[in-house]
Amino acid sequence: MKARWGFGLASLGLGLAVAAASMREAAPAYARYAGQTEPVRLIPSLTGEPEYCLTCHQGIEEISAAHPVEVFGCVRCHGGNRISLDAQGAHAGLLGGGNPSDFSAVDAACGGTDCHSGESTEERDHIARSMTSVQSTYAGAIASVRYTFGAQPDPTARYGIRAVSDPLVTSVTGVPAIAAFASIVEEDPQAVQTFAAECLTCHLESEPRAGSGYQRLTGCAACHSPSGLDGAYVGDDPTIQGDEPGHASVHRLTTAIPYTQCDSCHNRGNYNLVTMTFHERTDLPTDGRASRIEDYYQPIAQFTKCEWELDCVDCHTSQEVMGDGDLHSNQSEVRYIQCSTCHGTLDDGPLTMTITDPDDLALRRAHLNPVIDLQVGDTVVVTSRGEALWNVIQQPDGRLVMVGKATRMNYEVPLVKGSECEQDPAKQESSACHVCHAVERP
């Protein structure tokens, strides 16, 4: 008798399971996102392999004009299971979680000689440059703080967020290798340990601090996929919750990086130089409505008009921000743009270069952010290291005009030479220019 009951119940269970499976087949889980019941297939021309990611993610923004979805698809960069229609299955093996530019995955996701690594010249090997940059290693701050508190005898970098070596040191200040800071920090003075506990969120491998204003992604996307103040996604992908932090504003990579993205790390607060505790800024309105001049620099800072009207990327170059390929002990070793780079001195105008090589990197960068139609034969400002400020272009009448990379606004660049400026040509640090040209904070 018991066997009969068991058989009957098992049969009933089987029937119910079949019915449930049939219902699920009729209304698959992905249908709730956009209402469609037929999977959306895409065969990217680069891979030639069908993928079904857009079944759920239809409406998502194209990541950039350089990565059209019909060519790249999703899986080439994001990884995952291209034919699964189940969220868990499709996302198994995603590179870097939802962010393939995270440094844990960036080589696999974005690397390759046709892509962002493996170039013969360091200036074009963007992944290697970024991963050895001070913004990635945080070696500069670590070395300075350890030196300041007596944990090392000089400010030369010994430690970084992770161990990195550089087999090809090309600069005078480059160091061949650094060890992982975590391996030594517990033996360091208390202030250094406090610094380690509170201040190691300001590098490209770290999740940002919680809270409004700190929101950014990690890796390349920390800069190239800007976030809003609250980290909410405001795009059209129905699968991404719009009210949760931790997202870029939209699914987009850009080199037109607004100053607000730089501000998610820079100018957010100060360290107590005795205890190395971090103190957030308290001078900004909490509703995110700070004016640009308030937002840009902390109250203690001096700045000129162009330093807050322009975006950081209008002046600061790729080598400064993403590194020159070497490991350095301090950001000042790679930060070299001065006022004179664009404005010249009393004796000389700025350095310029006429583009003759159709493969010049300046043309490539102008193509990716076409705020100007840069051509072979155009003359642009170059830095003392020969790096082009491709958005500062000489006009036919000789004037220099800077085009805002994020704003597209045009600014005529006044020259010191021939002006009434009373500078000492030997003093070209910005502090010397601030003596006369600093603007008042309202």
């Binding site: 089987l14 079949v18 065969i43 680069l46 059209p68 046709d114």
Partner: protein, 164 residues
Amino acid sequence: MSAMPSSVPEPAEARLSREGFLRLVSRSALWLTGGASLVGLLQYLGYETDPPPQSVFTLGTPDSYRVGTTTIVPGARAVLYRQESGFWALSLVCSHLGCTTEEDNAGYRCPCHGSRYDEKGRVLNGPAKRALKAVWVDLDAGGNLVIDISREAPPGYRFVPSPV
């Protein structure tokens, strides 16, 4: 006079026995399962795989193209030339990462990363390192020009239609 029964028994078929109920449930479940499996099997056997991407494109008769003309074939992502020496065609797929190049002053330009090619498909500037691919041109059985973008044509290849 015969004795009357004290109660009238119910007909057996009027009440489902416990055994009968279990048998009914078991058989229903088995039929349901079998039916669903059969539907699944038929769906599986009837599944049509996606057709391969089109590689051969028919472009009409040769005399519809005048000598000296250049014709973009958007669906094929290719361009067809007719010159004195004959017909030839270039794939417009950028040799860098596969975006579709567009016409510009000097030839073709990739909208994705800015590679430029001359009108013969030779690289003018990178990041592309290889020329655009020349593709096969021929006539089909109906006398129409066809290009096959999956077949690379040898350097200098020209298709000359036979005179009718």
